[in-house]
C-alpha cells in the first residue's frame, strides 16, 4: 500500500499530511486517556499493535503475480477505534520509511491516511453497525479486518488517481487502473488476514474476556455466547 518516496507531487504530500496530523493528535490524546483509565488496556494494545507490526512486514504473493502486504489493523480498530490505530500505524510506517525505503517521509502523510485512517475508519463503521446485532463476533472480526485492509488499498488507489489522472478518461480511468494493481492483488490476502485475526480474537476472548467487557468492545452476553460457541 505504500506510495514510494518521490512518487507523489509535493502539493499532494502536504494535503495528506494536513489530513493525517489532526487524526494523530486525536489518537495520542485518546491513547493517554484510555491508558490512564485502565492500565489493563496496555497489554491489549500490545497484542493488537503487535499484529500490525507482524502482518505489515509480510509480503505475500497473490493471484495477480505480484506481492502485497496485509495491514493487520482490524484488531486494533475494534479494540481502540481508528484514531489510536492511526498512531500505531504511524510508528510502523515511520520505521519502514526510515530503514526500509518503503514509503518515505514526504509521502508518510498519504500512507498514514490510507493504512491508519481511512481503512480503520471504514472497518470501525462496520464494527459499530454489527456490534449490537446478533452477528457472531468472529464473523464481525473477520469482516472488519478484511474491510479495513481492503479500503487501505482502495484509498492508496484514490490518492494516486487524484495525483495522476489519466490523459484520457481522467481521474476515473486511472482510479480503475490503480485499483487493478492494488485492490485485486489484495483480495486473497484480506481473506487470509481476516480469518487469522478472527482466530487470534478467539484466544483473546478465551484468555482475557474481562478486558473486552470492561472496555465495552463487545457486550457481556456476546462474549459469553462466543466462549461457549467455539
Amino acid at each position: 500500500m505504500h506510495i514510494m518516496e518521490g512518487f507523489l507531487p509535493w502539493q499532494w504530500c502536504i494535503v495528506w499530511w494536513i489530513i493525517a496530523l489532526p487524526c494523530l493528535i486525536l489518537g495520542v490524546y485518546q491513547l493517554k486517556k484510555v491508558l490512564r483509565a485502565d492500565r489493563e488496556a496496555l497489554p491489549l494494545l500490545g497484542v493488537t499493535g503487535g499484529f500490525i507490526f507482524i502482518l505489515s512486514s509480510l509480503k505475500l504473493p497473490s493471484v495477480t503475480g505480484s506481492c502485497s502486504h496485509p495491514t493487520g489493523t482490524g484488531l486494533s480498530t475494534i479494540s481502540f477505534g481508528p484514531w489510536i490505530t492511526a498512531v500505531v500505524c504511524a510508528i510502523v510506517l515511520l520505521f519502514q520509511s526510515l530503514f526500509l525505503a518503503h514509503g518515505g517521509l514526504s509521502v508518510l502523510g498519504a500512507n498514514i491516511v490510507s493504512m491508519g485512517i481511512v481503512g480503520p475508519l471504514v472497518g470501525y463503521a462496520l464494527y459499530r453497525l454489527l456490534r449490537d446485532t446478533s452477528v457472531n463476533i468472529y464473523i464481525t472480526v473477520f469482516l472488519v479486518t478484511a474491510l479495513a485492509d481492503m479500503f487501505t488499498y482502495v484509498t492508496t488507489s484514490l490518492e494516486l488517481a487524484l495525483a495522476y489522472p489519466a490523459a484520457t478518461g481522467g481521474f476515473v480511468s486511472s482510479f480503475i487502473l490503480f485499483m487493478g494493481i492494488f485492490a485485486v492483488t489484495q483480495v486473497p490476502l484480506v481473506i487470509v488476514e481476516g480469518i487469522v485475526l478472527a482466530l487470534v480474537f478467539k484466544y483473546i476472548v478465551t484468555l482475557k474476556p474481562d478486558i473486552l467487557i470492561r472496555l465495552k468492545i463487545f457486550s457481556e452476553e456476546k462474549i459469553n455466547a462466543a466462549r461457549s460457541e467455539i
Binding site: 507490526f53 493471484v63 505480484s66 510502523v92 525505503a101 492494488f182
Partner: protein, 100 residues
C-alpha cells in the same frame, strides 16, 4: 458438547488453499515476477505521467538498504518485535488466568 476447534481447522484450510493457489499461479503464469505491488504501482505512475521511472527522485533524501539481505533482516526485526509483544502479553494473560 460441540467441536471446539472449528475456527482453527477453518484457518488451516484457508492458509493451505492460499498456498495451493500460489503454487498453481506461480507455475502456470508466464511473466509473473511477484514484485511488490508498490513497485508495479510506481510503474503505472511513470506510464500515466509520461515520465521515465528514473526521473522520480525522493523529495526528502532517504536511506535505502544496500541489499536485499539487509532489507529482509530489517523486515524480520520488525516482525520479531511484533512477535515479542504478542508472545509476552499472551504469556502474561495466561499467568494471570492461572493465578486467579
Amino acid at each position: 458438547m460441540s467441536f471446539k476447534y472449528s475456527l482453527e481447522v477453518l484457518t488451516v484450510i484457508v492458509i493451505v488453499a492460499f498456498c495451493a493457489v500460489f503454487l498453481y499461479t506461480s507455475s502456470t503464469m508466464n511473466g509473473a515476477e511477484f514484485a511488490g505491488s508498490d513497485n508495479v504501482g510506481s510503474g503505472l505512475i511513470a506510464e500515466l505521467s509520461a515520465t521515465p521511472l528514473e526521473n522520480f527522485h525522493p523529495l526528502i533524501p532517504q536511506w535505502e538498504p544496500p541489499s536485499g539481505e539487509i532489507e529482509s533482516c530489517l523486515f524480520a526485526l520488525q516482525a520479531a518485535f511484533g512477535g515479542m509483544l504478542i508472545g509476552g502479553v499472551f504469556g502474561f494473560w495466561m499467568g494471570q488466568k492461572k493465578k486467579a
